[in-house]
């Protein structure tokens, strides 16, 4: 079987995360959350270490990672853009906003721009339907976004 290469600092960090959840297999989702928060994404190597530390099968870890759209195996951009496609946002024009982001950044959903700055993903309802359509970039929330606002939003991050 192929060997996995991972920097020691990363391995130590993962071991620490797993330990903070008592290496419990039932805490897998929480561990994955924390690992993604730390590394930005969940590559195969990270999943292998988590499986080993929690004493669960790596196939199972991969099953969970691929089940939840929140988890990603590809690196996200420095500024991850999420467009809400929940019902309220959708009916108020989220699709047009999404198309505009894709057009301006020239990158499909689920992928990252070549310079590593932006990635686009869709999510379902952030619980701010009053602000529909909603876009989040990192921790920041933009409400009542129209397609015409997209260029200005991107500009904020390009300096």
């Amino acid at each position: 079987m192929a060997k996995i290469k991972l920097a020691k600092s990363k391995v130590d960090k993962l071991v620490e995360i797993c330990k903070s959840f008592n290496n419990e297999g039932s805490e897998l989702i929480n561990v994955l959350h924390k690992a993604q928060e730390t590394f930005g994404y969940l590559p195969a190597e990270v999943q292998e270490i988590i499986a080993r530390e929690l004493n669960v099968a790596v196939a199972h870890v991969y099953g969970v990672v691929t089940f939840y759209s929140f988890f990603s195996m590809v690196p996200k951009g420095e500024f991850p853009i999420s467009i809400c496609m929940g019902t309220a946002c959708y009916v108020r024009g989220a699709e047009k906003v999404l198309e505009e982001f894709k057009r301006q950044l020239d990158v499909p959903v689920g992928e990252t721009t070549e310079d590593g700055k932006f990635s686009i993903s869709c999510l379902r309802c952030v619980g701010a339907c009053g602000l529909a359509p909603v876009v989040t970039i990192g921790e920041r929330v933009y409400g009542r976004v129209a397609a015409g606002d997209v260029a200005d939003i991107i500009k904020e991050y390009q300096s």
Binding site: M1, K8, A59, G63, F67
Partner: protein
């Protein structure tokens, strides 16, 4: 979805009848029949009690393993509960007081047919050439429901077919019943398979959707044994065999594993547990094999080597040698060998170094026998008939090859042999009974019982006792070592020296014993492990038992019956084994024995390299 070995959500431990007696009783009506069942009983189980078999494609109850797989996923088992808006999946709906249930009214039948048609809308239409044809639950049920045309057309899955040395995965044929997942994760604790992705994209696959060969799969084949469709099948070697049998330059010899003779008859409509040893021999001879030999002979040889190794290790241990590790573990089962190489590589020096009987037979045939027959190694083809899929992989292991030529060229399963006999237009039931050829066809009762859980260690005990004590056993049956419990233990008295023996079948049970050894808690001197529930009789290459464990018991009983009928029942008394040592090997664990009959193991764990 969240499924962890020790925190299992898909399957629950079945209640034992005693537990349920304490519970409240519930009265309900199913198909106009009244029934009273303990609280917690599912509609499916209650109907079964009334003799009503509700069809299902995903439900699976493995009684003796205490495992019930009821994901409620296939929706074939739906029934109507009066007063409820929707039909209920009977396998995971509990009975309630006063329920009135219909299991086969028009609404139910239409729903079942629709569900089946929807399933078939994403299923390839190659039934005529599918390996599972004739033995496929999906096919049988589509026929049963009278599906004659398909009303739905939609997207079709297009997965790459995954060919491993033992198992073929064709996920276009998967219906997501997830039985394989339960076998792999909960019964075997191998963890090679998991459901991945979601919605239409969901599929059962190894981690990162890698090929099975690169995963932690042990090739035990228990997933294949429960797959209701052609999604999981064995790698078929029958065409290669037919080519070799037709080649006049080749001398083709065959060895048959003990468990095959106790199950092959089932494929020809015979009662489970019917011994077909003699008929099988005559079928093989009629198929054109030059010689028909018995793996049981090699099993006797295994006992000589493994038993000697056990006694040597035991003696050193008793003499206070701290470097000697006990317990010694059996090494006959290739699924089990794969398991510890992947999951317990730190313990790879504990199992016996003795090869499996299949791999002992190969080199003896290609040296000792080839010499006697005057055949060159390259002109001899050794084929094995095995109840097992891991044996196919074992044949291909590099350490079992000489200059690239495998000691055993390939192995075919009990099911493949049955198909081949049918292909040759023979009816096993009407064939005469014939005897194996010699010198590699003579075996003792000890060799026969290798096919059932506890059999290897019982065979070893018979020989080790007599060699160690110098006395003759009054009773060769070690009843304490027999049975179907997942983990068993017994102490055998070696003339004042108590030998603690452990037995596990099913890799999940083996894992428990191994963890005890790792934690220093094990008190055993010797442990027998077989990967498949029931031992080889329940192997992944056997006729499908559809979860009916009574079939396994009947097969085991058949082997013990054959043992009892044998004139010689101890491996070291097999005259051809004695002759083999006199003429060729010298003595057990000799230099030549080590070269031909022993092996070594590898660390196959996923090494994490730290930069």
């Amino acid at each position: 979805m969240v499924l962890v070995w020790r925190n299992v959500s898909l399957m629950r431990l079945a209640f034992s009848k005693e537990d349920l007696k304490m519970e409240k009783m519930i009265k309900l009506t199913i198909d106009n029949k009244q029934i009273e069942v303990p609280q917690g009983t599912t509609i499916y189980e209650a109907a079964k009690e009334l003799g009503i078999e509700i069809p299902t494609l995903c439900y699976m109850h493995l009684g003796d393993m205490g495992i019930e797989h009821k994901p409620g996923g296939c929706r074939i088992c739906v029934v109507e509960v009066e007063g409820r808006r929707n039909l209920a999946p009977s396998c995971n709906s509990k009975c309630e007081e006063g329920m009135v249930i219909h299991t086969h009214n028009m609404r139910v039948l239409n729903a079942r047919k629709t569900v089946m048609e929807l399933m078939l809308s994403d299923h390839p239409f190659d039934c005529l050439v599918c390996a599972k044809s004739g033995n496929c639950d999906l096919q049988t049920m589509a026929h049963q429901f009278g599906v004659r045309e398909l009303h739905y057309k939609g997207e079709q899955s297009t997965y790459k077919v995954d060919y491993s040395p033992s198992i073929i995965r064709d996920m276009d044929k998967c219906i997501m019943c997830r039985r394989c997942e339960t076998m792999c994760n909960d019964v075997q604790t191998v963890g090679a398979l998991s459901a991945v992705n979601r919605g239409f994209e969901s599929v059962v696959a190894p981690a990162f959707e890698m090929d099975l060969e690169k995963s932690t799969c042990t090739y035990c084949g228990q997933c294949v044994a429960v797959c209701p469709t052609g999604a999981l099948t064995e790698k078929d070697h029958t065409n290669q065999l037919i080519r070799d049998l037709a080649d006049p330059k080749k001398t083709v010899v065959v060895q048959t594993a003990p468990a095959v003779r106790a199950a092959l008859g089932e494929e020809f409509g015979m009662e489970a547990g019917t011994l077909v040893t003699g008929k099988m021999v005559s079928a093989l001879r009629r198929l054109g094999f030059n010689s028909v030999f018995d793996t049981d002979f090699a099993a006797d040889l295994t006992i000589m080597e493994e038993g000697t190794e056990l006694l040597e290790r035991l003696q050193k241990h008793l003499d206070g040698d701290k470097d000697v590790k006990l317990p010694i573990l059996t090494s006959c089962c290739p699924g089990w060998v794969n398991f510890f190489e992947h999951h317990f590589p730190d313990m790879k020096d504990i199992p016996s170094t003795a090869r499996s009987p299949q791999q002992m037979f190969g080199p003896i045939a290609k040296t000792y026998l080839a010499d006697k027959m005057g055949v060159k190694r390259e002109d001899m083809i050794v084929v094995s008939i095995m109840p097992c899929l891991a044996k196919k992989y074992e044949c291909q292991r590099d350490e079992f090859k000489v200059d690239g030529d495998p000691d055993v060229n390939y192995s075919i399963s009990t099911r493949e042999l049955a198909n081949l006999i049918k292909q040759a237009n023979m009816d096993l039931t009407t064939l005469p009974e014939e005897d194996f050829d010699n010198p590699l066809g003579e075996s003792t009762g000890a060799g026969v019982i290798f096919g059932a859980t506890g059999g290897v260690i019982e065979a070893a005990a018979r020989t080790a006792y007599e060699v160690y004590t110098g006395k003759t056993l009054e009773k060769v049956d070690f009843d304490a070592l027999r049975g179907m419990e997942g983990i068993r233990s017994a102490t055998v008295d070696f003339d004042g020296l108590p030998i603690n023996i452990g037995i596990a079948h099913g890799l999940g049970n083996a894992r428990k014993l191994l963890e005890d050894i790792r934690d220093g808690k094990s008190q055993y001197h010797a442990i027998e492990i077989m990967a498949c529930p029931g031992g080889c009789i329940g192997g992944g290459g056997q006729p499908l038992h559809h979860g009916d464990s009574s079939i396994l018991k009947k097969r085991a009983a058949a082997l013990y019956r054959e043992d009892e009928g044998k004139a010689i029942r101890k491996s070291h008394e097999n005259p051809y084994i004695i002759k083999l040592y006199e003429e060729f090997l010298g003595k057990p664990c000799s230099e030549l024995s080590h070269k031909l009959l022993h092996t070594h193991y590898f660390d196959k764990s996923n090494e994490i390299e730290i930069e």
